[in-house]
């Protein structure tokens, strides 16, 4: 919401400076987003007359001017084609900063002729983009006077952010009211602000035929004015509208805009010549259309309130007028509509049509239902004053909802909620200045002014507390929040408890461990291109209104995001990377916290010690999966490796780690078809670890004493069918004598000559841990026999 300081002062009788006004606005919750003050930058420029204009001796396109700015004649070299003797313009003396061209003027010789200043164009003064010639001022412009003063550019423009609750401040008068309440001056009565004796206007003849049939428009007030002349609006109105960025169109249109910006009261003016019959506010009929003033045609439905005559829809009620019944320069008879529209209905219609307008933004926040007659009177007054004509009586159909809301208020709640002690008298005075009615009692009864829809709620008055906090806010925002003294929160009693849940602590632990293992943490979008989601089993959730088609499907896996990231990095020359992310997968049943790791390209770069580069493989992924599971506290020795169950893994080079029936992680090489989909050329291994599937980490430790006896190791080599899972052999050996065997490690795998076609040799190192007595050769032979027997059950044979 923009307005000028001068405009504000039409309503606020104050001597406050611009800085005081902006500081107060910020203090009371009307946040100043910007102040444009052209006067400071343009202050040095003065009105000057061109006395003589001669051709420059050295340049055809330049002239040598003699200029008077009130004192002695000044020589200026000028390139403007319109510069001529006798004209008046705007002069900048040497030393002046020219904002539009970002230079400071100096005395300079231009093609050998001295120039002592500049006659300026509008662009050089940042008044417009006009740069075809210098500014031409009327003959009566006073030579030597400051240009900004004469042109009325001294009025700074203030831009405030109005929060959605403060419809009353979507007009200059509401802002003036708030500032007056904050002690910055006196709010002038409305008639005084408009410099009229009374709000009433002379009226003759019956009011127009209007009525409302729709609860979406509880009140439809209107009057007609006949015999108007719709020319340009006066300079004062145009200047105000231009200052806030609203383009003047014609007097009738400008009046409706001015009243809306000045009083927060949207109006609509119809050209009666375009209407057939009376106007009615009703629900649209499905299939009806209207071409709005913005030139677009809107299809309406039966939930939307429209204003229509016997033949056509002329207005999307409270949102935008129709093009056909708008005013033009030939308009002579008008109908001024001042209606009240239901805010919820306006909001729904506006959302459905995705149509925003200044009127909608006011009506959906709830304009003052008590201001219909005054708003219509002011508008009629302006029409009569600026366009002439004769006003009719007012037709009033329906009743605006003006029943006053009342709030029970305990003044002690100001201290109790806001922590500021404000004297009761001051509380009452603040509320009264804001227009609230104050009846002291126990509690106080506060009557809310009709323009404050945000305070209290008529419907919920059964709750004793409803609205009380609103009143507290009104008191403290005007009193000033600076008065709040910081007060420490009391410390909780007892032993400090962990403030992270076990799941959060687990995430942190896994995150830092993974980074410590050389992975860079990425944060990628939660939404994916649908095709990416499809490649990973499809998205359970998609967005109805994605920001783009590429960000439409909620990810069922973290891998597509990381694969896309790998592709972007590969395109930047980084084919080898180790990335991870911790975040949610969005599945139909719930959101699942997940760790994903991606290893792409080389595990080892070529190196003088290790030789040629080594590509990542599935075992890298397995190692990372197990390392992460170990740090997460999963019992990694009890995990089994199952075949991959999802399609995005290489069917022969991936696995899933399961604890009983619970899947803890998938790992392995990403399926070549997926790599093709992401246009990745390098090998990619990955892990997805399902954090919410992990068993809870156990705290505390069992009692333990290191064994007194030395462990010993024995090696065995078995020839097994190559289809045998190595893990099966290790498990068989481990289980051969659970009391003695403390560990089995597979350390060699060999296929080739002497083993037999279809076989491999697996070598294991078995660690035996004696408990009570040193093992004899016989003991060792016995356990060795058990190991061999267990292996033979799997089809293995001991190598000779």
């Amino acid at each position: 919401m923009k307005f000028t300081l001068g405009w504000l002062k039409e309503h606020l009788d104050t001597s406050a400076s611009l800085d005081e006004v902006t500081a107060t606005l910020n203090r009371i919750g009307l946040e100043v987003e910007g102040v444009e003050d052209a006067s400071a930058a343009l202050a040095p420029f003065v009105i000057a007359e061109v006395l003589t204009a001669e051709r420059h001796p050295q340049a055809d396109k330049l002239q040598v001017l003699s200029v008077s700015a009130g004192g002695a004649a000044i020589q200026v070299v000028c390139g403007a084609p319109n510069a001529r003797a006798g004209m008046k313009g705007v002069f900048g003396a040497p030393g002046t900063y020219v904002p539009g061209s970002d230079i400071t003027l100096k005395v300079a010789a231009i093609r050998g002729v001295e120039s002592r200043g500049m006659m300026c164009s509008e662009r050089e003064l940042q008044l417009s983009e006009e740069h075809n010639g210098i500014i031409e001022l009327p003959a009566d412009a006073p030579v030597g006077a400051r240009y900004v003063d004469w042109a009325g550019l001294v009025d700074p423009v203030i831009d405030v952010a109005i929060t959605p609750n403060r419809q009353d401040c979507m007009g200059v008068r509401g802002i003036a009211r708030d500032l007056a309440a904050a002690g910055l001056g006196r709010l002038k009565p409305l008639a005084e602000a408009y410099r009229i004796a009374a709000l009433d206007v002379p009226r003759a003849g019956p009011g127009p035929d209007v009525r409302t049939d729709d609860p979406g428009c509880p009140a439809f007030f209107a009057c007609a004015v006949t015999g108007v002349t719709n020319g340009a609006s006066p300079a004062w109105m145009q200047q105000k509208l231009k200052a806030i960025g609203s383009k003047p169109i014609s007097a009738l249109v400008d009046i409706t805009n001015f009243v809306m910006f000045d009083l927060g009261r949207p109006l609509h003016v119809y050209d009666r010549a375009t209407l057939s019959g009376g106007l009615v506010a009703r629900k649209a009929i499905a299939g009806e259309q209207v071409e709005a003033l913005n030139g677009r045609t809107y299809a309406l439905d039966e939930t939307m309130t429209v204003i229509a005559d016997d033949a056509h829809v002329h207005d999307i009620g409270g949102i935008m007028g129709g093009k056909a019944s708008g005013c033009s320069e030939t308009t002579t008879d008008v109908l001024i509509e001042c209606a009240f529209f239901d805010p919820d209905s306006i909001a729904r219609t506006g959302q459905k049509l995705t149509l925003t307008s200044d009127a909608r933004s006011r009506f959906e926040r709830g304009v003052d239902p008590g201001f219909l007659d005054d708003g219509l009177a002011i508008a009629t007054h302006l029409v009569l004053e600026l366009c002439g004509g004769t006003a009719s009586e007012v037709t009033r159909s329906g009743t605006p909802p003006t029943e006053p809301k009342q709030v029970a208020f305990r003044p002690a709640r100001v201290l109790g909620l806001a922590g500021i002690d404000v004297a009761q008298d001051e509380q009452a005075a603040i509320l009264e200045r804001l227009g609230f009615g104050v009846a002291r009692g126990d509690p106080w009864t506060i009557t809310v002014p009709t323009w404050r829809r945000d305070v209290g709620s008529g419907a919920a008055a059964s709750n004793g507390w409803d609205g009380e906090a609103d009143i507290v806010e009104e008191v403290v925002r005007i009193h000033g929040l600076d008065a709040i003294q910081s007060t420490p929160l009391p410390r909780a009693e007892g032993v400090a408890k962990p403030t992270a849940t076990p799941a959060q602590a687990l995430e942190r632990r896994v995150r830092r461990a993974t980074a410590a293992r050389g992975f860079d943490e990425a944060v990628t979008w939660s939404f994916l291109p649908p095709a990416d989601a499809e490649a990973f089993g499809g998205a359970a959730f998609t967005l109805a209104n994605p920001i783009s088609a590429d960000l439409a499907a909620m990810r069922p896996s973290l891998l597509p995001g990381l694969l896309a990231a790998a592709k972007r990095n590969a395109d930047r020359g980084q084919a080898s990377l180790r990335l991870f992310e911790i975040g949610q997968r969005y599945l139909a049943d719930a959101e699942h916290p997940t760790l994903a790791l991606l290893l792409a390209g080389q595990r080892l770069a070529r190196d003088w010690r290790t030789g040629p580069a080594v590509a990542v493989d599935a075992y890298d992924a397995k190692a990372e999966a197990l390392a992460a599971l170990a740090i997460a506290g999963a019992p990694v020795d009890r995990l089994a490796v199952a075949a991959p169950a999802t399609s995005w893994w290489h069917p022969g080079r991936a696995g899933r780690l399961v604890l009983g029936k619970v899947v803890l992680a998938d790992f392995g090489m990403v399926h070549p078809a997926i790599l093709k989909h992401f246009d990745l050329k390098q090998p990619v291994a990955a892990v997805e670890l399902y954090l919410d599937a992990l068993p809870p980490r156990r705290r505390g430790r069992a009692v333990f004493a290191p064994p007194a006896l030395q462990p010993l190791t024995r090696d065995f080599a078995f020839v097994v069918p190559e289809t045998l899972a190595a893990d099966a052999l290790v498990r068989a050996a481990s289980g051969a004598d659970k009391a003695l065997i403390a560990g089995v490690k597979l350390f060699d795998r060999f296929a080739g000559a002497g083993i037999g076609e279809g076989n491999v040799s697996l070598a294991i190192e078995v660690t035996l841990q004696p408990k009570d007595a040193t093992l004899t050769e016989a003991d060792i032979a016995a356990v060795s026999a058990k190991i061999v027997a267990a292996a033979e059950k799997l089809g293995a044979s001991l190598r000779g």
Partner: protein, 385 residues
């Protein structure tokens, strides 16, 4: 060892050497001469093998010193008293010389071996890959640490949220214009009983916490949030942190202290001034926006002082309707809530300029702005890295 002959002993034995270290036989008539001779041989031994030959010739089973010592047994007491100390002195001197020479030869051999083992220590070594923690995670950990000290637990909630939790319970009815403040993403697969949205703020976690937990409540809720917005300072996904305190007698004065404590700790600056401005959020009443004093001297942002103001968070007293919607009695329980952008806090503290880069996973950016796994924010070591 080959060809070593030891002569027979007389009263004073005569020794002769041959082979081994290349010694010439020499006739000696007393222990001093013998000692000088042996010590000379020891000094002349240039290899461990030569030294061993000298040792065997002198101290071996048939060595000259051994032979001499054996003669002591046959001497009469007087002669033994005279010869014993001399012979033993000889033995000790030879032993000591052998040991010293052995140590010197070993040292020289080691030195020679080490010299031959020299490597070029300027050759490069491949370091294990150093991973990084994303700035968002780092800042979330910092925030959790700071608020843990104030007794705030970390709470969380779903990102695909019901319209009721995200809006209605927070006093934002369907037609409320505040919904236009949130450019909401709607989920196509919404069940008939209620629309699903991507949460537009972390505030629904307030609701979920109040619904499930009895007051007093002190939580922070960091997490991903979503709005349909995209430019250099807005991305459709970003991160917020929500704070909530519900108790008896909590006021804006406690809020101000909490935020001051948080801002000082987070930016590691003592001189922090906060400015509270009245504002509007549907779920708080009174609502305040909080500016932090800062300076742009030299074009660089410094938190502290009051030269200039920067808006950093929104907050207020939890609206009685929100408290009631969560099943609590607003006449008994009250408190404050606040929310701010985690990504923005990270940018202010660590100087990133483009929010979009946070989500691009550009390795160069991650390596530059990421944190070591061991930069764990703790109160004792500091929450800045």
């Amino acid at each position: 060892m080959v060809g070593c002959i030891v002569a027979a002993a007389f009263t004073e034995p005569v020794l002769s050497f041959c082979g081994g270290g290349g010694y010439q036989p020499a006739a000696m008539t007393d222990t001093d001469t013998l000692q000088a001779d042996i010590l000379g041989s020891i000094a002349a031994a240039a290899t461990p093998e030569a030294l061993e030959a000298v040792r065997v010739a002198a101290m071996g089973k048939s060595g000259s010193v051994t032979a001499l010592l054996k003669t002591l047994g046959g001497m009469d007491p007087a002669a033994r008293a005279d010869a014993g100390p001399r012979f033993n002195g000889l033995r000790e001197a030879v032993s000591a010389a052998l040991a010293a020479r052995k140590a010197a030869l070993d040292a020289a051999a080691l030195e020679a071996r080490l010299a031959s083992e020299r490597q070029d220590m300027t050759l490069p070594v491949a370091l294990p890959a150093a991973g990084t923690i994303h700035p968002i995670s780092q800042v979330m950990d910092e925030l959790a640490e700071i608020f843990a000290d104030l007794g705030f637990a970390v709470a969380s909630g779903p990102e695909i949220e019901t319209d009721w939790h995200n809006f209605t319970a927070l006093n934002i009815p369907e037609s409320h214009p505040a919904r236009a403040m949130h450019d909401t993403f709607y989920v196509a697969q919404s069940p008939p009983e209620g629309k699903l949205v991507l949460r537009t703020h972390t505030s629904p976690v307030q609701v979920r916490t109040m619904l499930t937990q009895a007051p007093p409540i002190r939580i922070i809720a960091p997490g991903r949030v979503y709005r349909s917005d995209s430019d250099a300072t807005h991305t459709p996904m970003f991160h917020q942190i929500e704070g909530l305190v519900i108790d008896r007698g909590i006021t804006l004065a406690h809020l101000k202290w909490t935020l001051e404590t948080f801002v000082k700790a987070f930016f590691e600056v003592d001189d922090v001034t906060l400015r509270l401005r009245p504002s509007y959020f549907p779920f708080t009443e009174p609502s305040v926006e909080v500016d932090v004093g800062c300076s742009w001297a030299g074009g660089k942002l410094t938190i502290g002082g009051s030269d200039s103001w920067m808006e950093i968070l929104g907050s207020g007293m939890v609206h009685p309707r929100v408290i009631a919607a969560c099943g609590l009695d607003p006449d008994e329980w009250q408190g404050f809530a606040f929310g701010t952008g985690v990504d923005r806090l990270a940018m202010l503290k660590y100087g990133m300029t483009d929010l979009r880069a946070f989500f691009d996973a550009d390795l160069r950016w991650l390596k530059h702005y990421g944190f070591s796994a061991f930069d764990v924010p703790t109160l004792s070591a500091g929450v800045g890295a």
